[in-house]
């Protein structure tokens, strides 16, 4: 396929590999990034297939590897996979909800060479946390595991997904992370795809809530800097309050490569919802997938763009924004991301902002991610 801007000859290698090992997560977060129809994707690559994927990706140039899911810990061969990846020279990151983590596993992963563990939390307050995760034991378990991760000498990233129900507690969230001696704290608002899009009205914070969160975060940054505390706070605000979209994933198929549990290769973890067919590692080599496949070349370069992006002088900065968001909100994946004020669909973003100012359903009314709901929503 011909593509100005980045033909396969100029296309650089994938540098980041995200291995979504399984969708079998015991939690039910209403903003989960798993596809709505995850219950229909039961297949999982074998240990040997994963190791083959890692070997190919490493040969192409990937250096960072994230083990994620729906909860990578439910894979019983996780330590083996970590060991194989580390041996190949990957920097190995475990991205977990902490459910199912034990001190013995933490130790076994360290022996296998795991470089870093990220634990995700739902809120600093046990009650909201448990309600969002759909599990009462979840919060205590996460706290205990965060302490164990630090005690084992790992660098630790704590990830809090923020939304209108917990963002006002950001002061306590940061306080908790600092007390747990996190090295990095990601305070990331949900990205509104999949489950989060389904629940958007009940999740999107108001502008005032965001401004407050930004202010509190900056105060903490000053305080940490004064104390010489290396803890780094990363605040990711929802692009719904921007006038220009984010340059998603540094460009389509540019440095990120996601492999889903059944071996489907994606340029970003939510791309599965697009009306594009994506190749599988069970049928093609990673090199073919990355450089030559239709799916990965679909939105590379600029030729695929429609107006206003096509003739816009900012297209090299933001690549027209997120393809998944464009498709979700306009039904056409070649449109400008509606976050952009130049998009003819920008009013949909303005409408969502106005909606956020209105009272919205409480947490208990959100649609939780679980197999039953997944089957009801996505009948095959």
């Amino acid at each position: 396929m011909l593509n100005t801007g980045s033909t396969s000859a100029e296309q650089g290698p994938p540098l980041w590999l995200l291995a979504e090992l399984t969708y079998r997560c015991p939690l039910q977060c209403p903003y989960c990034s798993n596809p709505l129809e995850f219950a229909n994707h039961k297949g999982e690559l074998s240990t040997a297939q994963w190791v083959d994927v890692f070997t190919q990706a490493r040969a192409l140039g990937a250096a960072q590897l994230g083990f994620s899911g729906g909860e990578p810990l439910v894979r019983e061969d996780l330590a083996e996979l970590i060991g194989a990846a580390r041996e190949l020279g990957f920097y190995t990151n475990l991205i977990t909800s902490g459910m199912g983590l034990t001190e013995a596993k933490i130790e076994a992963f360290r022996e296998a060479g795991l470089d870093h563990i990220q634990i995700s939390f739902q809120a600093s307050d046990a009650e909201i946390n448990n309600m969002l995760a759909g599990s009462r034991k979840a919060f205590e378990q996460k706290l205990a595991m965060a302490r164990a991760v630090k005690a084992a000498g790992y660098p630790m990233v704590l990830n809090f997904v923020t939304h209108r129900h917990n963002i006002d507690q950001i002061d306590r969230i940061i306080e908790l992370c600092v007390a747990l001696e996190a090295d990095f704290v990601e305070l990331a608002t949900c990205q509104y795809y999949g489950w989060a899009h389904l629940n958007r009205a009940g999740l999107l914070p108001t502008k005032a809530q965001l401004d407050h969160a930004e202010q509190v975060t900056n105060q903490w940054r000053e305080k940490l800097a004064e104390q010489g505390n290396p803890c780094k706070l990363i605040l990711v605000t929802p692009d719904y309050y921007e006038e220009r979209p984010k340059g998603c994933m540094n460009g389509w198929g540019n440095i990120f490569l996601t492999i889903t549990p059944d071996g489907t290769a994606l340029p970003c973890h939510s791309a599965r919802q697009l009306p594009v067919s994506f190749p599988s590692v069970t049928e093609h080599s990673l090199s073919h997938i990355w450089y030559d496949s239709f799916g990965f070349n679909r939105f590379r370069g600029y030729d695929w763009m429609s107006e206003p992006c096509r003739s816009c002088d900012e297209k090299e900065k933001d690549f027209g924004g997120c393809r998944c968001q464009a498709y979700l909100l306009t039904g056409d994946a070649t449109q400008a991301d509606p976050v952009c004020s130049k998009s003819p669909h920008h009013h949909k973003i303005l409408q969502a902002r106005a909606e956020a100012e209105q009272p919205q359903p409480g947490i208990e009314e959100l649609t939780f991610r679980n197999e039953r709901t997944s089957r009801i929503i996505c009948k095959v």
């Binding site: 140039g61 250096a63 470089d115 870093h116 660098p155 990095f184 010489g228 780094k232």
Partner: protein, 92 residues
């Protein structure tokens, strides 16, 4: 943050790893969910950061290796200060 001096001993922060990447044809610094591609001089310095060598030794080793580079000691100190400010390394 106090300035870095010659008898300080830098050590990479736990979880940070320096590695040669043939495909990128450069050294990279890897850390939780992050990667920095290093230029040659930054890599030369970081390769000598082992938690044992003080800054003065790093400067001497590099001066022996690159005798014709003027102001090398200043550059090394400046780089270690930047790396320290970025929390890539600890100073002892």
């Amino acid at each position: 943050m106090s300035p870095v001096v010659r008898d300080n001993t830098p050590v990479l922060r736990p979880g940070f790893r320096l590695q040669w990447e043939p495909v990128q044809n450069s050294h990279v610094l890897l850390y939780p969910e992050g990667m920095v591609k290093l230029n040659e001089s930054a890599a030369e310095v970081l390769l000598l950061v082992d938690g044992k060598r003080p800054v003065a030794d790093i400067i001497n080793t590099l001066t022996d290796k690159f005798p014709n580079v003027p102001g090398l000691d200043e550059d090394v100190l400046a780089f270690i200060e930047v790396a320290h400010a970025q929390h890539w390394l600890h100073i002892r």
